[in-house]
Symmetry: C2
Subunit: 107 residues, 2 copies
Amino acid sequence: MKKSLTMADCCSVLVEPIADAHATELAQAFAALGDPVRLRLFSMIASAGTCCSCDLVEPIGKSQPTVSHHTKVLAEAGLITGEKAGRWVNWSAVPAKLDELRAALAS
Amino acid sequence: MKKSLTMADCCSVLVEPIADAHATELAQAFAALGDPVRLRLFSMIASAGTCCSCDLVEPIGKSQPTVSHHTKVLAEAGLITGEKAGRWVNWSAVPAKLDELRAALAS
DNA sequence: CCGATAGATTGATGACTGTCGATTAGAACT
DNA sequence: AGTTCTAATCGACAGTCATCAATCTATCGG
């Protein structure tokens, strides 16, 4: 029987020229990490395990709408996921997506 | 004696909130990979081992100036390096930079 | 020297993006 | 109900970016 491979399993950018569709999805994730502010936000969230938006605004030195915008971009790229808890949203990193990115850069 | 660590050695984004300067440099590399066309170009170069710009234009389906622009961005991000050989430029991926990116995403 | 080829640069244009102030939506606690 | 607090949304603006046609530079072959 045919083994079905997801993109996270196999697809290294280094082995062969990647397909167009794959490039689009991967590039979205890389682009999400491609802004210094967003990368720092992601780092804060990932290293904290979990944190809410309100803990990000002051350390990052940007306005609340800006932080909200960036968390949305990160979430749409699949890098973080948000769990609503009362008035708060608890953000956390998505390990599977990180694995996919690492795999894409691995030989 | 003090052990001096370069950024490539240690700095995972997942361990602690990354410093501002580090974020800027890392984000530049991620941003370079954050465009589908550029990601495909990088994939072509890296998987080929070495190739010249003229081999990229037709498969990527973009104009020559556009390809030239993208290779420049990738080179400035440290992801590829170009060796001039007569009329050609031989592009190749920079493994150390890839290691740095993978390390940044690794726990 | 001349024509041909590879690649970089310039200039222009349309699209996208990061940022913020103001506002809105929803939730909790009097 | 009213207040306070978190977060999302909207609208606007300045800046950046991807793209291409045209041009320029440099190199090779004859």
